[in-house]
Amino acid sequence: MDMRTYLPRFAAIALAGASLLAVTAAEAKEITIWCWDPNFNVAIMKEAGARYTKTHPDVTFNIVDFAKADVEQKLQTGLSSGTADALPDIVLIEDYGAQKYLQSFPGAFAPLSGTVDYSGFAPYKVELMTLDGQVYGMPFDSGVTGLYYRKDYLEQAGFKPEDMQGITWDRFIEIGKQVEAKTGKKMMGLDPTDAGLVRIIMQSAGQWYFDKEGKANITGNAALKASLETINKIMAANIYKPAAGWSDWVGTFTSGDVATVITGVWITGTVKAQPDQSGKWGVAPIPALSIDGATHASNLGGSSWYVLEGSAEKAEAIDFLNEVYAKDVDFYQTILTDRGAVGSLLAARGGAAYGEADAFFGGEKVWQNFSDWLAKVPSVNYGVFTNEADTAVTAQLPALQQGTPVDDILKAIDAEVSAQVQ
């Protein structure tokens, strides 16, 4: 056992190991941001970045565009693995998921309480990102909902814009039948794997999958029941074009196949991305249920920016968000006009753009309307299990379509949610 015989071998192995471990240094002062939707969040972040770079030329931005599900899953994977290298400096998180990330990955996000003046933002938004007295994240857009409709199709079917104001869901379905009879167009696109519409209708009547204490609220939830009954009626009346997945659903209205879109205000950028449809669209408040607490206002999604605690550019990232999103009122006017982003910075509401008419919507003052509806959105507790409840609802939509009684559907949803929520 002569050590000299083995020494060269150890040396060779060590050398091979060292070359494997060689790492490259990170680029300085580049802020990496993950978000989704090229017509909305990505475009808005580019605008924000351009504004910040004017005063801070040393900071550059790398805005990465993923699908929303991919951002969420990549974030969750990165956080679970515990390696900060795999994560961006700033990430966009939809409001439904905020508490989930904050509670299950303590210490992963940078608290901004000391830096950002949160009193300037809509309180519901700040509440969403508060945990144990610390506020995380930069409040961004609201998901206030509206009923976008094709004026030209409805006119052909004999309806005026006034006929779309303040209607009930039953009236909406009635109009849908006539639109199809007169124009051959379906009233709306519907993706049976997405429970977004159920959520919109449910929240418009002031309820959620969970009560204020965060307990499951399914079988006794009148708004959820009415919401499912409404979907059932829409399916029975066959006034919808089925869509498989998000991009398919977007295609139903960008291609001009359907007469209306009911969703969050953030879709405006996508609607406006079709310049040949300019002047043909109008916006009305969403239809209301005929139950107690029913309103014409609701919310779908809405999201906020979060800075990762382990980010190498943490200080720059926080300063950037604070400078632009918490202070620059003019920025909010630009993104409203260009992208339809209704921000949650209250001071921005006083800006000029909110009172302006939009040519794409035939000169209507749509932003004023959205701003009014926003104030009327019933507040609910999203809890931390919205994804699970949503999956349980979509699992039952085909059964609903096949005529299973709504009470049985609710029981099945309740069983699934109870099993998942622990």
Partner: protein
Amino acid sequence: MALARRGGIGRYYNVNGWLFVAPALGLIALFMIYPIVWSLWMSFQSGRGMMLKFAGFANIVRLWNDPVFIKALTNTLTYFVVQVPIMILLALILASLLNNPKLVGRGFFRTAIFLPCVTSLVAYSVLFKGMFALDGIVNSTLEAIGLIASPIPWLTHPFWAKTLVIIAITWRWTGYNMIFYLAAMQNIDKSIYEVARIDGVPAWARFTHITIPLLKPVILFTTIISTIGTIQLFDEVYNLTEGKGGPSNATLTLSLYIYNLTFRFMPNFGYAATVSYVIVVLVALLACLQFFAARERDR
């Protein structure tokens, strides 16, 4: 004596030998044994995200009361029971046809049938999604030749979505299995077939009484590989259904459920680990069963 020493216990003291296998052993320990042991430990814990704490058998109890898990398990077993036999039989028939030396262009056919399994999983899923869309090429073709009156909702109806997944994996993996059978068939002595032909054994009987028995070890091998593949099915379903296993959880598999538990829902690594051990147990049981069914009886 010297030979016996070198071949026997002496090997254990050979430092060179250990040095040669050390990197591989190290990697196996780090990337296989450690995760296996750690995930077993994790399956006894429960909690949200990084806040795991010991929970005993709570996760196993939870399995029985979880309708989504039951659904994923039934789906996975349905895929297995329906798809694997179809694929094995189809691969056998195709291999036997393409083994015919008189067939013109068999090189082309062999390649064409084998090609699907070297395509990218994502690319082919996306392609299938387009082809089987409501107004996609499959529906319009079926309508044009008068097989169906209205388009089949491949992606939005629970039954058809499951069928689509089965079609997709059959398309992709049949050629893969066929190649094994082709290789094995070429090793069967041709004189056996000659004798059978002289004795007047018809083609079908030659296939069932000569080819299949002689291919038995290969069939066992492909069945086990396919079983493992099907029980672990993930990519096709993930890409065809945008990661949801929809509609109505009809295409959800155990692997996709594990993924959802870890990356889409409130992360519960403990419970996800428990579900993954269900797959381990399932694969082990099925493989044992298959070995048992294919054991040599004529001793």
